[in-house]
């Protein structure tokens, strides 16, 4: 049999629309100057990684998503994860908490404690962190429209542990623009929501310098259907929108850019993801340096959490997701991520069980300790294909960013529904390709087990959690100083109505055990609510 010619081979087109040839060589990167485009790790433009020694010095941070039910249960799970060698916490909140509803709100019915821990007042967060060494860990709080309240609560909890604010390390997810595109926990309209983020960045840069006030999430945009190029491009458009908001407050780019963090998705084609991150690091460095005039190299580094990719997991044959998780961990490590959080194998249908969470943690530990992934930095750097693909991805990401600018910038593009429409159209096309078998998905459209019945087991919902939580809420409302609460809420209203930074009055309210719902209500009254564009 004769060897097939190239043009007889099946065409390979990546999700981002890039055509892949079977072989690459030096001619494909002959215009790529090593110093300018690739360079050394830890040096501008950071294509190969943001630290000179990367994992040789220290492995990636391991941070599994966890939290459910009451603060007490969550506290027990946190302690267990830390005992197992996890080095940071990633806190899951239930939907009422994420949407600023108290557990006695009628809209919270049957949702209290369902997909994460429930928080009504400072007391709940105090319980969740009882006997946890806050000064030794970094804590990621997965919360968005009411992130200011959660930040205030966390600061007060740390204070009560005797830890000064300048020692606190952590992140509030606090990326509202992606909530309008995917994930869906939005409350207020776009402009005031971005103002709240600006207030938090301003406050943290002055008082909590080791804290990341927001983490821009390409992740959820990709989970909603975006291509890897759209994921990176939209994340950058979002991040520059927040930067512009903060720059209005007479802070310089170097005052806060070193604390900008990103959260990205990993599922899909291995090489495309690796190139996405290398291209993203290079492009971000250029944007921060050239467009915003940063002088501090640390401002120019794309710091990220990666490893999750729920959209790549399947309900069918769920154990296969353990294998997918291991590949995702490998991709993340080859991509030079700072923090890794894997989707547990049961994530396609529930929040992680204890067993699944431990397997994810061990997957990362095996990769870090047994496979040589930490021996040398950016082992794929210099590969003809990877460097060529990195160049192609960078061009595509820039083109996609220009389209958003043409649509009037990210704020307008989200208010009009342009981005939501682009992303959902992509999700539809992708689903059609999977159903037609054009995109192979093992267990779904290939190697299907006919007799298999989908094994969906939700994290058991415990209605007692809501009952107990409501009792606690009632008790604390009776015990707290209601005049203090009233004054704090008035101060908050005044700050929201003017351009006074809201963090000081939010802290005051939180200290008085004002509820999350009471604080949110003031914001709603002043700011109004987001009207979702529903035309697709």
């Amino acid at each position: 049999m004769s060897k097939p010619k190239f043009d007889e081979l099946k065409e390979i087109i990546l999700e981002s629309g890039i055509k892949v040839r079977p072989v690459y060589g030096p001619e494909d990167i002959k215009d790529t100057e090593f110093d300018k485009a690739i360079g050394r790790p830890g040096e501008y433009p950071f294509t190969r990684g943001i630290h000179p020694m990367m994992y040789r010095k220290r492995p990636w941070t391991m941070r599994q998503y966890s939290g459910f039910g009451t603060a007490k249960e969550t506290n027990a799970r946190f302690k267990w994860l830390l005992e197992q060698g996890q080095t940071a916490l990633n806190v899951a909140f239930d939907l009422p908490t994420q949407l600023g509803l108290d557990s006695d709100d009628p809209r919270a019915e049957r949702e209290v404690g369902r997909v994460g821990m429930t928080i009504d007042t400072l007391q709940d967060l105090e319980e969740a962190f009882t006997d946890i060494p806050i000064e030794q860990i970094s804590t990621s709080l997965t919360i968005n429209p009411v992130a200011s309240v959660m930040l205030a609560m966390y600061l007060v909890v740390a204070e009560k542990h005797g830890i000064p604010w300048d020692q606190i390390r952590g992140t509030t997810q606090n990326d509202i623009l992606k909530e309008y595109i995917g994930r869906g926990t939005w409350i207020f309209p776009v402009e005031p929501s971005i103002r709240l983020i600006g207030d938090m960045v301003e406050f943290c840069s002055q008082n909590v310098p080791k804290f990341n006030p927001f983490s821009v999430c390409g992740y959820h945009i990709r989970e909603s259907g975006a291509t890897p190029v759209q994921e990176m491009a939209y994340a950058f458009e979002i991040a520059t929108t927040y930067i512009q908001e903060v720059l209005k407050r007479r802070l310089s780019i170097d005052d806060f850019a070193p604390r900008i963090a990103f959260n990205f998705d990993i599922h899909g084609n291995l090489w495309e993801q690796v190139a996405k991150f290398r291209a993203g690091r290079r492009l971000w460095a250029k944007i921060i340096k050239q467009r915003f005039g940063a002088k501090n190299p640390r401002s120019m580094t794309l710091r990220m959490i990666a490893g999750g990719g729920g959209g790549g997991l399947t309900i069918q044959q769920p154990e296969n997701n353990i294998v997918r998780g291991a590949y995702y961990a490998l991709i993340s490590a080859l991509s030079g991520t700072q923090t890794m959080a894997l989707c547990s194998y049961d994530e396609a249908y529930t929040i992680p069980s204890k067993k699944a969470a431990l397997i994810s943690l061990r997957t990362m530990q095996i990769l870090a300790d047994e496979m040589g992934l930490r021996d040398t930095v950016d082992p794929l750097g210099g590969s003809y294909y990877i460097e060529w693909l990195t160049n192609e991805m960078e061009k595509k990401i820039e083109e996609c960013m220009e389209k958003v600018e043409e649509a009037g910038g990210m704020i307008k593009a989200v208010e009009s529904g342009y981005i939501q429409s682009e992303v959902s159209r992509q999700a539809y096309l992708q689903e059609k390709k999977i159903q037609a078998g054009e995109i192979p998905k093992i267990g779904v459209n290939k190697y299907v087990l006919e007799e298999e019945e989908a094994q969906i087991e939700f994290h058991a919902f415990n209605p007692k959690v809501a009952k107990e939580q409501k009792r606690k809420l009632k008790e604390i409302k009776a015990r707290r100083n209601s005049q203090e609460v009233e004054e704090a809420l008035q101060a908050l209203r005044k700050a929201a109505q003017t351009n006074e930074n809201i963090m000081t009055p939010v802290l005051k309210a939180v200290r008085a055990y004002t509820t999350l719902g009471e604080i949110t209500k003031v914001f709603k009254e002043v700011f109004g609510e987001f009207k979702e564009p529903v035309g697709l």
Partner: protein, 139 residues
Amino acid sequence: MSESSEGKRIRVLIAKPGLDGHDRGAKVVVHTLKDAGMEVIYSGLHKTIEEIVKTALQEDVDVIGLSIYSGAHLPLSKRLIERVKEEGLTDKLVLVGGNIPHRDIKTLQEYGVAGIFSTGADLNSIVEFIRKRIEGKNE
């Protein structure tokens, strides 16, 4: 084409009840039904059952499809069916999609849900199901 026997296009409301923000599946179904020639109204997120019933009335839809990923599909579906009955909208076809465990399918059917489409359901089968039930009903 997707018309009832009276010659009017089939009208569908795809709704997201409760606090759950997973709307990828709902939106994929919206695109699918639109491409199949149906009139589709998408509710947007965080709707109460009351709001969904009101929209169904105002828009005079033939089909109400709920998309639920939070695990609260049983109480939400039950309440929708109760409200649909109270409003005398029993001619409406009620569908439920999302993360639906196999063991809950029978319960949902007992409530009066006509079709259940779990994650990964064949998109064509949703189109076919609606056509068959709506066009068949009017013959």
